[in-house]
């Protein structure tokens, strides 16, 4: 790059630009590329090592770890729409559900191998999101949100009732012994007397292998999301978020950009949904309900919308709360505070009890309010503030890398 810098001239044919500017610029460009590399490496390491890292927190069991990954993927995808374009979809859970149903049908009709199931799930979700996105993106702002909500609620209500032949209603679509599974049958895999399990070319996809599959997909998804963030496409999406009018007066047709982003994020949702079916081959209609869509909104904002890591972090925190806090009861609290003197332990149990077990929603509600009130940029903003605190109050580092300081936290 640097050898042709000298030849670059101003578009208006003015004097050649000062070379130092370019040197600084290309250095910072390669630095940001290096930062991304470091980010993805650290991210991969943390994700793959999470069974060990999370053990002290009581979260190191396959089902929850899988959920962290799956909802991480879901939130990353949602963030591509909401974080980049600012369009708040309240119907993304529908695509997740569609991905799940499609994957389970693939298990039922074709094969227990996960590859076709995931592909089929992503494809179906992509098609649906293209369809719904095409209609909903005719409107912006809250009207867009309500349109997506309406479509998702319709999908949910229909899945719950008249579409039961496809969705098996409230019970959820399950595998049965008499499913055809034509590919498995053709390749001579005997139908056993008990239910078959999902596999990747013979490797069972439940438990830890299932987690590692999800983890690898999560890492790939994260990598793709970095690419999208850094691409001209991502820049256009951010431009739409910042000033959609200017975009059109700048010669950009925003709707295909939005639709592309919507479809990409719908496919992410479908991917997450099909992975849910891979790790647990049941697809329930509840995962399409508006509250499920609301959950991914919360995850994204909690972590930090528009940041790369935030949504994954938010998904992790919420799923952790849901699974761990709801399983606490008075007994566990007593043993947790048993190190305290009796009276104090009793007191601590009394004040914490309403927030755990069946009251875990209360914790969730309070947490959100605190985050939104004090950390509007989500957990990533919090992390950044703490980071700034430790690296001294701005000063040198800020001067060195103004880009990193002023861009949204990443």
């Amino acid at each position: 790059m640097s050898q042709n810098l000298g030849k670059i001239r101003s578009p208006l044919d003015m004097e050649p630009l000062a070379i130092e500017v370019h040197d600084v610029e290309s250095a910072s460009r390669s630095r940001s590329a290096r930062n991304d590399l470091i980010l993805i490496c650290v991210f991969s390491a943390v994700v793959l090592a999470s069974p060990w890292l999370l053990a002290p927190f009581g979260a190191a069991y396959p089902d929850l770890l899988q959920r962290f990954c799956i909802f991480g993927i879901f939130a990353i995808g949602f963030n591509i729409m909401f974080g980049l374009t600012g369009y708040l979809s309240f119907g993304h859970a529908a695509f997740l559900g569609i991905g799940s149903y499609a994957a389970v049908w693939s298990f039922k009709l074709l094969t227990m191998n996960v590859i076709p199931a995931v592909m089929f799930g992503v494809l179906c979700a992509g098609l649906f999101s293209a369809l719904i996105g095409y209609v909903c993106l005719r409107r912006a702002g809250i009207y867009f949100s309500i349109l997506t909500l309406a479509f998702a609620q319709m999908s949910y209500n229909l899945a719950y009732s008249v579409l039961t032949p496809i969705t098996n209603g409230e019970t959820g679509l399950q595998l049965t012994l008499n499913d055809s599974r034509v590919l498995d049958a053709a390749s001579g895999i005997d139908p056993t007397s008990s239910l078959p399990v999902t596999n990747l070319f013979g490797m069972k996809m439940s438990g830890y292998p299932g987690f590692y599959l999800c983890a690898i997909v999560l890492i790939i998804s994260f990598y793709i999301s970095i690419r999208i963030f850094r691409s001209p496409f991502g820049m256009m999406l951010r431009g739409i978020k910042t000033n959609q009018n200017r975009m059109s007066y700048t010669g950009i047709n925003t709707r295909p950009y939005l639709l592309a982003a919507f479809v990409v994020s719908g496919m992410y949702a479908g991917l997450a949904g099909s992975l849910m079916a891979v790790t647990d081959p049941l697809a329930g209609a509840e995962r399409m309900q508006w509250t499920a869509s609301g959950e991914v909104v919360l995850m994204t904002i909690l972590g930090g919308a528009g940041t790369l890591l935030g949504p994954v972090l938010g998904a992790g925190v919420i799923k952790y709360f849901e699974n761990i806090f709801s399983s606490f009861n008075a007994q566990t609290l007593h043993s947790a505070f048993s190190f305290l003197p009796d009276g104090l332990a009793e007191f601590m149990v009394t004040i914490t009890h309403p927030f755990v077990g069946e009251g875990w929603h209360l914790t969730l509600g309070v947490l959100f309010m605190l985050i939104v009130i004090f950390l509007p940029g989500g957990l990533m903003e919090g992390a950044q503030r703490i980071g700034n605190m430790f690296s001294g109050s701005g000063g040198k580092s800020e001067a060195e890398s103004p880009a990193e300081q002023t861009k949204p936290a990443e």
Binding site: L88, V135, R138, R139, A140, G141, I142, Y143, I146, L147, L149, A150, F151, Q153, M154, N157, L158, Y160, S161, V162, L163, Q244, W290, G294, V297, L298, I301, A305, P354, G359, H361, L362, L364, G365, V366, L367, F368, M369, V372, I373, P376
Partner: protein, 342 residues
């Protein structure tokens, strides 16, 4: 014909509830520019005002009778309703009419809750993005809901309408139908009239008081009103309180129709949001019209004749209508340009 008439009544009834919640939502949005996801919770809190009053007037002193035991071997509890003990006939009257009486109780309580909410939380969010407002009020809604659940349990708590109006009226006779073909519960008729009255009061308040004038001006152009030097903050607080009272009273009066539980607010919230948007964000007549319209359509869609042709239509009709209206009329039935689009 009789079936259609009944369905219209059903629809208006349901629609009135949507309209009352939507009215407050759109009032808050139009004046304060805040998307209040906790509005359903206010409706629910209103309903629980009635539950509280019901509990208070039915308060019983429990004494143990050691001479008799329950099947599980503990002494039998003797419950004495003290309100009736103390006040005699008036006490009985209070028990009987606890739901209508709750209105008197709910007005100050809801006003107070509204003011506390606005002063304590909402006012810090006027300038924040809508997403933040949605999130913080959603969090608040969850917190309120969980507190109510912890206090009153998860099951619905039925509230009886006064015996005088517990039955149903044969309104068909008035209109020339055969007796017994168009009967409708008295309480639902009362609810409908009450809602109309409440909507009327809100409009009158906005039309004829100086507060209302400021509010209307504020809905038209918030910045200008700010420049007039009027104490806009105080007005905002009052508007919020008013919206809370309207939602609360809707909740109080709805209790004999639907036994309240902690989750009822969320159930109504989503639909009310659809109503607000279909009516047009920030449009009060739009909210009322859309509420009633969607209520009636929902009732019609539930008729067997319709369901036989379009199975499942009753489950999606509201959303379907919302989609169609938003595509045909971009800003809802009566929305103004430029609201909430950027």
């Amino acid at each position: 014909m009789d079936a259609i008439l009944l369905q219209i009544l059903n629809g208006l009834d349901k629609g009135a509830a949507y309209a009352l919640i939507a009215l407050g939502l759109t009032l808050i949005f139009g004046t304060l520019g805040v998307v209040n996801f906790a509005h359903g919770a206010l409706f629910m809190l209103g309903a629980f005002c009635a539950v509280t009053v019901g509990k208070l007037v039915n308060y019983q002193v429990v004494t143990l009778d050691p001479t008799r035991t329950t099947p599980w071997g503990t002494p039998v509890e003797i419950r004495t309703p003290i309100v009736q003990e103390w006040f005699g006939d008036f006490g009985a009257f209070m028990v009987e009419y606890s739901v209508p009486l709750s209105i008197l109780f709910a007005i100050p309580i809801m006003l107070l809750i509204g003011v506390i909410m606005e002063r304590g939380l909402i006012q810090f969010f006027y300038k924040r993005p809508h997403a933040d407002q949605i999130l913080v009020t959603f969090g608040l809604a969850i917190v309120i809901q969980e507190i109510i659940k912890a206090q009153f349990g998860a099951n619905p708590i039925p509230q009886a309408a006064p015996d005088l109006v517990a039955g149903s009226a044969d309104i068909g006779v008035l209109l020339g139908f055969d007796p017994g073909t168009v009967v409708y519960p008295y309480w639902r008729i009362i609810y409908l009239l009450f809602s109309a009255l409440l909507i009327g009061c809100v409009f009158a308040f906005l039309q004829f008081t100086t507060y209302g004038m400021v509010v209307r001006a504020g809905m038209a152009d918030r910045e200008t009103v700010g420049l007039l030097g009027i104490n806009i903050q105080q007005r905002f607080t009052v508007v919020f309180g008013l919206a809370a009272v309207v939602a609360g009273l809707a909740g109080v009066m709805y209790t004999p129709i639907l036994p309240p539980d902690y989750h009822m607010g969320m159930d109504f919230l989503v639909l009310s949001f659809v109503v607000v948007v279909v009516g047009g964000m920030g449009s009060l007549p739009g909210a009322v019209a859309a509420g009633l319209l969607l209520g009636v359509l929902q009732s019609f869609a539930s008729m067997n004749e319709v369901k036989n042709i379009l199975p499942g239509i009753d489950q999606i009709i509201i959303y379907l209508v919302a989609v169609v209206i938003l595509l045909v009329r971009p800003r809802g039935l009566m929305g103004r340009k430029g609201v909430m689009e950027s």
